[in-house]
């Protein structure tokens, strides 16, 4: 009973609560990082150095009036934010945060489920998330959200091809679809796959930027052209759901990249015995550190690069990343067979 119901439920509650807090603070971190890059201070007024800003933001979103446009499709208008957020959250079910650890003398695996199709599950659930974007733009019954949602979903579908192709080469490397097995494969290989597959990591990360509609690929939210993106007509908690989904998706991309390319919970240089001191740090801390480093890269890029034009975005996706990803799969397969 305890092993089959209580512990998984506890894990889900802790994970969801932690995730939502993480997302709220990621927004603050983003504002701070962008501010520092631009030699500003960022939020400073709520709490010391603005540390309570997320709390204030959440309160504001809860109390705000929730408006539905008069000729909107009510059901879909309510459904869309849910469809955007839920896939972003349930992906975390298969992400391993650390090796099996003992908590109060009881062995606990630091993941919710280790299914043998874990990686495919992530791709499949991710592909459901696009409905939130499309339906949110459609049901608002307003032209700018519709245009933005078309852009967002076209972008997502295009870059999904390249990203999935890089996952194929990672599956070839690890010989398994299970996320835990992929980390274990990096332990037995003695090296993070990032060093063996740098091209795949690059394609995955660029594709991830595009899939989450982050700068420099944030065309769906180009204010000058589209007012505010597919969620222009949304307000209050329903807007917050879209916002949460976007940041949760950033965390998903970073966490999956950490697992696939940066050795998950493994310490740096897992094959060098002399660095045993690093083993004193628990695995889940390494995992969070690596994920956070990738998230910082997201923010850094946002503060540095200007936005792409739409045709440049599509050209990059279809004519550069997809052929490169296919070539990478072929090279990986060939190397696997002949080496």
């Amino acid at each position: 009973m305890i092993d089959t119901a209580v512990i998984p439920l506890l894990k889900i509650v802790i994970l969801l609560a932690g995730l939502l807090a993480f997302v709220a603070y990621l927004v603050l971190v983003e504002r701070k990082v962008v501010a520092w890059v631009q030699v500003r201070l960022g939020p400073m007024r709520v709490g010391p150095h603005g540390v309570l800003q997320p709390v204030a933001d959440v309160l504001k979103l809860f109390l705000k009036e929730d408006i539905t446009p008069r000729r909107a499709d009510r059901w879909i208008f309510t459904l869309a934010p849910i469809l955007a957020l839920v896939p972003a959250l349930i992906v975390f079910a298969v992400i391993p945060f650390g090796p099996e650890t003992r908590i109060f003398g009881r062995p606990v695996a630091l993941h919710i489920a280790d299914v043998n199709v874990g990686l495919l599950y992530i791709v499949a659930v991710g592909s459901i998330g696009v409905y939130g974007l499309i339906l949110g733009g459609y049901s608002s019954n307003s032209k700018y959200p519709l245009l933005a949602s078309l852009r967002a979903s076209a972008q997502l579908i295009s870059y999904e091809v390249a990203v999935t192709m890089t996952l194929v080469s990672m599956i070839l490397m690890a010989g398994s679809l299970s996320m835990v097995q992929i980390v274990e494969a990096q332990r037995s290989a003695g090296v993070w796959f990032a060093f063996v597959q740098p091209v795949a990591l690059l394609i995955y990360f660029v594709g991830g930027l595009a899939e989450t509609n982050r700068a420099p690929f944030d065309l769906p939210e180009a204010e000058q052209e589209l007012v505010g993106g597919f969620h222009t007509e949304y307000s209050g908690m329903r807007f917050a759901f879209f916002f949460l989904a976007e940041y949760a998706n950033m965390i998903v991309i970073s966490a999956v990249a950490t697992t696939l390319f940066l050795g998950g919970w493994l310490r740096p240089f897992p094959n060098v015995e002399a660095l045993w001191l690093l083993d004193l740090v628990p695995g889940w801390i390494w995992f969070l550190l690596k994920t956070f480093a990738l998230l910082f890269l997201f923010l850094w890029i946002r503060a540095t690069l200007p936005r792409y034009r739409y045709d440049q975005l599509m050209r990059l996706g279809w004519k550069v990343l997809i052929p490169l990803a296919i070539a990478n799969v072929i090279v990986t397969g060939t190397a696997k067979v002949f080496l």
Partner: protein, 170 residues
């Protein structure tokens, strides 16, 4: 007992959503019910221990093909009232034939499954053989290699055809 409860709940949901797909007035609502239908089918696969099939069902149908349906429906049918069928009797006759064929097919499947071993033992055998991803991969590249390659050739031809139709001059 628990398995049966889950199965009948899912089966009822699948049939219910299928009815909603064809009875909804708004085509976008139809497409959403179709997605829900596919998700329930995927859940049914999970109950049958066919995780790989379930994930592929979500990835290809719910997340891929239906997204394109939604695009088409949304952009072609924006704010136009649903059209009435031109000759409802012709449609219903065709419908009757199709329904008869479907019933015959279901009866054949039912008869087949009564005579052969149940799926629970098959699921256990799959589990023992090291998960169904490996097994499906193995079978696709050995016993079913020719159908697999023929299917991939067909898809390639369809893809080239679509590109040619969309862009007459490149």
């Amino acid at each position: 007992m628990a398995d049966a409860t889950v199965f009948y709940t899912l089966a009822a949901a699948i049939v219910g959503f299928a009815v909603l797909v064809i009875s909804a007035r708004n085509t976008v609502h139809s497409v959403i019910f179709l997605v829900l239908n596919f998700l329930c089918v995927a859940a049914l696969y999970v109950v049958l221990h066919a995780e790989f099939l379930a994930v592929i069902q979500v990835l290809v149908y719910a997340g891929g093909i239906v997204v394109l349906y939604l695009f088409v429906v949304m952009l072609v049918n924006l704010k136009r009232p649903p059209e009435t069928h031109q000759d409802p009797r012709r449609r219903s006759r065709l419908g009757l034939v199709m329904a008869g064929l479907l019933l015959a097919q279901l009866a054949a499947i039912g008869g087949y499954s009564v005579t052969t071993a149940g799926s629970a033992s098959a699921a256990r055998a799959t589990e023992a053989a090291g998960g169904n991803v490996e097994q499906i991969g193995w079978l696709l590249y050995t016993d079913y290699l020719i159908p697999f390659e023929v299917a991939s050739m067909l898809l390639l031809v369809a893809m080239i055809g679509a590109i040619i139709l969309a862009k007459r001059e490149l």
